[in-house]
């Protein structure tokens, strides 16, 4: 279904595609509402959730304001644990490094634990082109990979699929009919993916938190695939967005306590792995090589700007789950990597506001996102700032002219009254009908499905 989405078009066009898919919409709505309710219950099990979120925000600000030092320390301690570190300025450098590692172990298969940053750098495609089969092992991610789709939610990638969809997909893979049963379908994936875990030469994961002073990478998963990818293959590569660093275990404890609660409401994910380099002398198993790739890829452009706080993000997904726009249109209407309010902020910042600034309109500015953010990112403010930049750099001449005309029309009481009078006339002409689709590039889409409100006499400013 994602094939109907045209990523060279803008958010509005893609949202219309989503709105035409009632099955997907109800699947998304149901799942994210359940998670949003879980989140509230999860936070209620903390002693003082609002206070802890304040602490978490300050922890992240501390990490970001010392980012150079924290990253340098992480590199030192990870190397001291026997691991390797590579600093990648952009996606191409990161991909090239991973391919080098793959070659060094003659990898034919790479098992992957769900990682949005690998989506960001287009790693799967690069691996395939180099003859290494990338196998996604998070169940939801495996489903969308086999369906040839990008993930639709940063935490629950196949949230848009019904079990009937999955049964159909897996039956094709299995060459025999599988029932519409989540348990049996999961069991099928377990057996299939187990072979890959034991056979792959390379394991690839993201990083939830790099703990600078401890030489430790923290990885949170529920299925156990993260443990598999970091334990079974000969080599492990972890790819970390450079902002995902914390200083020590004391800071980590606070963030772990908020991460899963903010997402599904669990107190902690099933597995929180603390990785400390490759297997040590005497340890019976574990990878011989452990690589850490620290990725910039546009993040440093955000540092020190008015968007700085966006880098606090710990990718819990809470803002997606409460967003009225996300609930209606799902992840695909956004950029295919990062969706929801946080995606609408960081995608334009990473890709350029001219290219992706339209995403900032994927918001009602209701601030529900800011309300739930565990690290208190003022997302709705940042969305407004992205809009400003987009209006400056990305909006068409026609749109700018329209706003100039609008501002002129409202500048004096007399002009305003005339403007409202014209509006009343239009409203009377349209009388309860939907507006026609106007053959104009901007207004055409806006008028689709909208009705004019009845305007009061006197321009609503009678005294």
């Amino acid at each position: 279904m994602s094939l109907d989405y045209d990523y060279s078009s803008d958010f509005g066009e893609r949202a219309l595609v989503s709105l035409d898919q009632p099955k997907m919409r109800s699947a998304i709505k149901g799942a994210v509402e359940q998670q949003a309710v879980g989140r509230n219950a999860g936070l209620a099990t903390l002693k003082d959730a609002p206070a802890l979120r304040e602490v978490a925000a300050r922890i992240r600000d501390h990490n970001l304001s010392h980012l150079d030092g924290h990253l340098e320390r992480l590199a030192e301690t990870w190397e001291a644990a026997g691991g390797s570190v590579f600093f990648a300025a952009d996606a191409a450098e990161a991909r090239a490094y991973v391919l080098d590692v793959a070659r060094s172990v003659d990898a034919r298969t790479a098992v992957k634990s769900k990682s949005m940053v690998t989506e960001e750098i287009g790693l799967n495609r690069a691996l395939s082109e180099a003859g290494v089969e990338p196998v996604e092992t998070d169940l939801g991610q495996y489903i969308v990979q086999k369906a040839g789709e990008p993930p639709s939610h940063i935490v629950a990638p196949a949230i848009h699929k019904s079990k009937e969809d999955v049964a159909e997909l897996f039956s094709t893979l299995a060459g025999r009919p599988l029932p519409n049963d989540a348990h049996e379908l999961t069991d099928y994936a377990r057996v299939l993916l187990r072979r890959h875990f034991l056979g792959a030469e390379l394991g690839i994961s993201g990083v939830n938190f790099g703990v600078a002073d401890e030489g430790t990478l923290c990885l949170a998963t529920n299925e156990g695939n993260g443990r598999m990818c970091t334990s079974m293959p000969r080599a492990h590569v972890a790819i970390m967005g450079m902002e995902r660093v914390v200083w020590d275990f004391e800071q980590l404890a606070v963030l772990i306590n908020l991460l899963a609660r903010s997402n599904t409401g669990q107190k902690i994910t099933q597995y929180t792995s603390l990785l400390h380099g490759p297997r040590r002398a005497g340890e019976p198993d574990g990878p011989e090589q452990s690589h850490l790739v620290i990725l910039d890829n546009g993040r440093s452009n955000i540092l020190g700007t008015r968007f700085h706080q966006a880098l606090r993000c710990i990718r819990c997904g809470a803002c997606l789950n409460v967003c009225p726009v996300f609930r209606q249109v799902g992840g695909y209407a956004y950029d295919p990597v990062y969706s929801g309010p946080i995606g609408a902020v960081i995608t334009p910042l990473l890709k350029g506001t001219k290219e992706a600034g339209d995403l900032a309109h994927a918001s009602t500015l209701c601030a529900a996102c800011s309300e739930v953010c565990p690290v208190r990112i003022p997302l709705h403010d940042l969305l407004l700032y992205v809009r400003q930049e987009f209006a400056r750099d990305g909006a068409s001449g026609a749109e700018r002219a329209a706003y100039r005309a609008w501002s002129h029309a409202w500048a004096t009481p007399r002009r305003f009254a005339l403007f409202v009078g014209a509006g009343r006339l239009l409203g009377w002409l349209a009388r309860g009908r939907s507006l026609p689709k106007l053959p104009l590039p901007l207004l055409g889409r806006w008028t689709r499905g909208r009705r004019l409100p009845e305007l009061p006499r006197g321009g609503g400013r009678r005294t």
Binding site: L46, I59, S65, H66, G224, R227, A253, I268, L274, P278
Partner: protein, 211 residues
């Protein structure tokens, strides 16, 4: 290639003008736990794990009870100090085959129905156990079999996850892998329906031992 120095220099330059902040983490943010053992049990059961409490003499019976549903199970047992001696004879008594770890190797662990290991610590707040890869433990026995049985000493249950991390920070030599495991493996990726046992164990028993 850009290189580390240049990468960090760019970050440093971008941060010019950003005030360096500090953070004081209050010492009392974590939840308080009154009765760690009872809380551990309740939380473990809530996430789908099974709880057992056994004195040394009762360990054999508990193992036999866990193995009851199996017909001649293959059981990988680690040579960790926390795994009681009575375990292997109990497995054999239940008609099971004992595979000793690490000698059995990864293939042995992959073929086993049940993995029996120690847990170094437990956290009451969440029903979490701490698994270490330090020799002779490794990773496979608690990961590959469908059933995982972990032995945890009663006096090793600390109140919270934050306390577990304190214990890790205090370790003299750090293993390459520590897992904070909370109940069985699970997913809700298909229609948000909870399914236990995706890639890691579907059934988790924690046997808390007391003198």
């Amino acid at each position: 290639m850009t290189g580390r120095a240049e990468f960090l220099e760019r970050v440093r330059a971008r941060l010019e003008g950003v005030p360096k902040t500090t953070v004081e983490i209050p010492s009392d943010w974590a939840v308080e736990v009154d009765d760690p053992l009872r809380r551990f049990e309740a939380e473990l059961v809530a996430v789908g794990g099974r709880f057992h409490l056994a004195r040394e003499a009762e360990v054999g019976d508990v193992v036999a009870e866990i193995l009851e549903p199996f017909e001649s199970p293959r059981v990988v047992i680690t040579r960790e100090p926390g795994v009681p001696e009575a375990v292997s004879s109990s497995v054999q008594g239940a008609g099971g085959e004992v595979l000793w770890w690490p000698e059995a190797g990864r293939d042995g662990a992959a073929a086993a129905d049940v993995g029996i290991t120690e847990a170094l610590w437990g956290a009451a707040e969440t029903g979490t156990i701490l698994l270490s890869s330090a020799p002779p433990s490794g990773r496979a026995p608690s990961l590959l079999p469908r059933v995982h049985v972990a032995f945890l000493a009663r006096d090793r249950i600390v109140p919270t996850v934050a306390d577990l991390l304190d214990r890790v920070a205090a370790m003299e030599t750090r293993p390459s892998n520590i897992v904070l495991a909370t109940g069985p493996s699970k997913t809700a990726d298909i229609e948000n329906i909870l399914v236990r046992g995706v890639h890691a164990p579907a059934e988790v028993h924690v046997v808390v031992t007391q003198p």
